[in-house]
Amino acid sequence: MSTQAPSTQPDIIRPYGDTTGDGMVQMSFTLPIPHDKRAEGAALQLASKMGLDPALLVHAKAMGPDFTFFVVYGRVHHLVDLRQVEVVEREFPLLSPKEVNRAIKTRLRRKLVVVGACIGTDAHTVGIDAILNIKGFAGEKGLEYYREIKVVNLGAQVLVPELVARARAEKADAVMVSQVVTQKDAHIHNTTTMSAAFREAYPAGRVPLLVVGGPRFEEGSAERLGVDRIFGRGTTPGEVASYLVHALVTAKEARS
């Protein structure tokens, strides 16, 4: 006999405060009004419109003359249907810097070389620097921080032939290009020019992995632009590093 409770997972659940099914949640927020009775009423009205019933205002405090901060506890009656939860899967697993380094070291057995640049007239290196510079972005260190990745950051306003030449000289595994500020779809034009130049300069099948990033690219347009992957706004260095391992280490092994 098993000592565990029957483990049939229900499909319908509610938040758990201290009893199964009690639906209790807690939240905090600020309203842009001075703290008085009316403010407290306003907070309760918001909680009730958000579906907390009953809502319990446990804390209200003035934050300066014009704002009030609230903490509210309450019961929600919403049901969560686990069968309807949709998860958009990334096509690659997210790895820690340690895991990225280990994967490259043990499976590629040399440093992975990344050449990055802003091409065309774009002088905004914000994107490429956030991904490449050790300083990084959103609390994650950039690719320079990864011991097993060699980063060559060419900076801004790099000409495509220069980028191709440097990628060849460095034997780049991946080429990373960022396009932040663009006019008249210059980012699309620049990207297709770049991918065409690489396909011309390299024998078929030997082109480095082409990765572009920037806030204006459409998801799913990678193929049309002739590149391997597009990253949009908010991408962190860790995601890019994980992708590189996926595309250059894991996928290659699977093929060979």
Binding site: S28, F29, T30, M63, G64, F67, F69, A123, H124, T125, V126, D129, A130, N133, I134, K135, A138, G139, K141, E144, Y145, R147, N153, G155, A156
Partner: protein, 528 residues
């Protein structure tokens, strides 16, 4: 106060003398080179401001033109003021405008002509230096009138909306809530721009551009708030990146009170050329010294990339180097906001005791410096409740070890830009700890040879070991040992060779007739 750590004075002396030995050849290098940004800063002191319709500053046009025609080996001012004396234009602005369209020919005057051009240059640059002197006097007057914060550490808060007109009410609100120092974070990437943007700006990435007009607007607003609160509110910005000398100059002209200004941050974390950085840094620190600005160094950054226990001594090494370079440039102890941070993994046993040991070590090595204590960032996870507790412990170390400047930690670090409520809760946290435990400095005496003393001594001895390795480093090119050490990845794991990195093309070796009236006035202390 009796020292809390039993450090060997001979070991402390040895650490300082090694820092001097590592730094001195780099200072010689800085004194034998100039950069486009140092020359542009000098023109800014002479009163050249503004930009063309494409927002390219006139100082960039003029320096580029002079460099293209006669080079910068003699400095920019001699050929510029020679051209003015020859009647190429009636004033500096017109000269820059004409030069930008290619209609001025510069030459290198000789003999008496050169002397005369030098005298005019000195007279004009001295005006800027005197403005900086007046601003320093104005600060001293305002501090006397409104008063300094009642407590130490001073409470340092950040605003960063990207829009100067949003930053202003936020900064004023933060001051009303208790902030003593307001820092306006710069737009991401400004450090890599080789020009200073112009005018009031309303669009930035994760921060607001540092411009002269933004400095002026914010300082004026905080002067109002200082008056309202009866407490002088200090303003901070960033003298770092490719335009470090110019930003420092603008800060002096517009009476900023503190500037982030680290000796190696740009090299290690922004891949800026090491020579460019050290030349720019020396000039910017000379300006800060003159302007009475407190610098903040960036040692916290080492701990965000390396492990805070294993790399604790790199913080001490960087503090010692920053101290050497700062004093060489004329800064006084009270102007050295040497940085350190609460970044040890909270899951480690005794993490709090180690934080105390490290903070006390910095306190005792630099007893007269207003140390800048930086909150946890690396181990803030998004669990805001745990983050709030961690910030409380950070504040407690600050209270127990007499830190000078405390950057207020936000529980939403690494989650969102702080909500209004996050800032208020963070300040409540600081106030509670200061109120409850501020007096602990009286009672807290770590026992002789106990855990804290032993750990502090260990870090100091590792720091001495690293400094010793640095001064014995060398490379094939015969660069100064510190540059060789930076090139082979001694700091923050980053390899930065002296002949690579951004901004290298803006470095020029000084010729025998090099003249820079700003540097002369800054080094002699003269004002005419």
């Amino acid at each position: 106060m009796k020292p809390l750590l039993d450090l060997d004075p001979a070991e402390v002396r040895r650490a300082r003398s090694l820092a001097r030995k590592a730094g001195a050849p780099v200072v010689r290098l800085a004194r034998s080179h100039t950069t486009v940004s140092v020359e542009r800063a000098t023109l800014r002191l002479a009163g050249l401001a503004g930009a063309d319709h494409e927002r390219v500053p006139w100082v960039n046009h003029l320096v580029d033109q002079v460099r293209g025609q006669v080079g910068l080996e003699q400095g920019v001012t001699t050929p510029v003021f020679d051209a003015l004396r020859r009647g190429e234009a009636e004033d500096l602005l017109t000269l820059a405008q004409k030069a930008a369209s290619g209609s001025v020919s510069f030459r290198l005057p000789e003999g008496r002509e050169a002397t005369r051009a030098g005298a005019v240059a000195r007279r004009e640059v001295a005006r800027g230096i005197r403005t900086i002197d007046r601003q320093r006097a104005a600060r001293e007057r305002l501090v006397k009138r409104h008063g300094d914060p009642k407590q130490r550490p001073w409470i340092y808060l950040i605003v960063a909306t990207g829009d100067i007109y949003e930053d202003i009410p936020q900064a004023q609100a933060a001051a009303r809530e208790g902030a003593d120092v307001i820092a306006v974070i710069r737009s991401t990437g400004q450090s890599l721009l080789d020009y200073v943007p112009e005018g009031a700006t309303r669009e930035g990435y994760a921060g607001t551009y540092a411009t002269q007009e933004n400095f002026r607007l914010m300082r004026a607003a905080l002067d109002e708030t200082s008056k309202e609160l009866g407490r002088y509110i200090r303003l901070t910005n960033y003298a770092s990146g490719l335009c470090m000398p110019e930003i420092a100059t603008l800060a002096g002209l517009e009476r900023l009170d503190m500037m982030l200004n680290d000796s190696m941050y740009g090299i290690l974390f922004r891949d800026i050329n090491p020579v460019r950085t050290f030349v720019d840094q020396r000039f910017s620190r000379q300006i800060h010294a003159r302007a009475g600005i407190i610098i903040n160094t960036g040692e916290d950054n080492y701990l965000t990339t390396a492990d805070a226990v294993e790399a604790a001594h790199t913080v001490t090494v960087s503090q010692l180097l920053n101290e050497y370079f700062a004093k060489e440039a004329g800064l006084q102890d009270w102007q050295l906001g040497l940085g350190h941070a609460f970044e040890i993994n909270p899951d480690l046993p005794d993490s709090f005791r180690m934080e105390l040991a490290h903070a006390l070590l910095a306190r005792q090595l630099f007893p007269d410096a207003p140390l800048k204590w930086m909150p946890p960032t690396k181990h803030m996870t998004g669990d805001v409740f745990r983050g709030y507790l961690l910030d409380g412990f950070f504040n407690l170390v600050g209270a127990m070890t007499g830190q000078g400047i405390l950057l207020v930690g936000m529980m939403t670090e690494a989650v969102v830009t702080p909500f209004l409520s996050d800032r208020d809760l963070a300040l409540q946290n600081v106030r509670y700890v200061m109120n409850a435990a501020g007096g602990l400095t009286e009672d807290f005496h770590p026992p002789r040879d106990g855990y804290i003393q032993t750990r502090a001594r260990q870090v100091l001895s590792e720091a001495v070991g690293l400094l010793d390795a640095i001064v014995h480093d060398s490379d094939a090119e015969g660069d100064p040992a510190l540059l060789a050490a930076i090139a082979d990845g001694t700091f923050g794991l980053m390899k930065r060779p002296a002949a690579a990195g951004k901004g290298l093309e803006g470095v020029v070796k000084r010729g025998p007739g090099y003249d820079n009236p700003a540097i002369t006035l800054l080094e002699t202390g003269e004002s005419k």
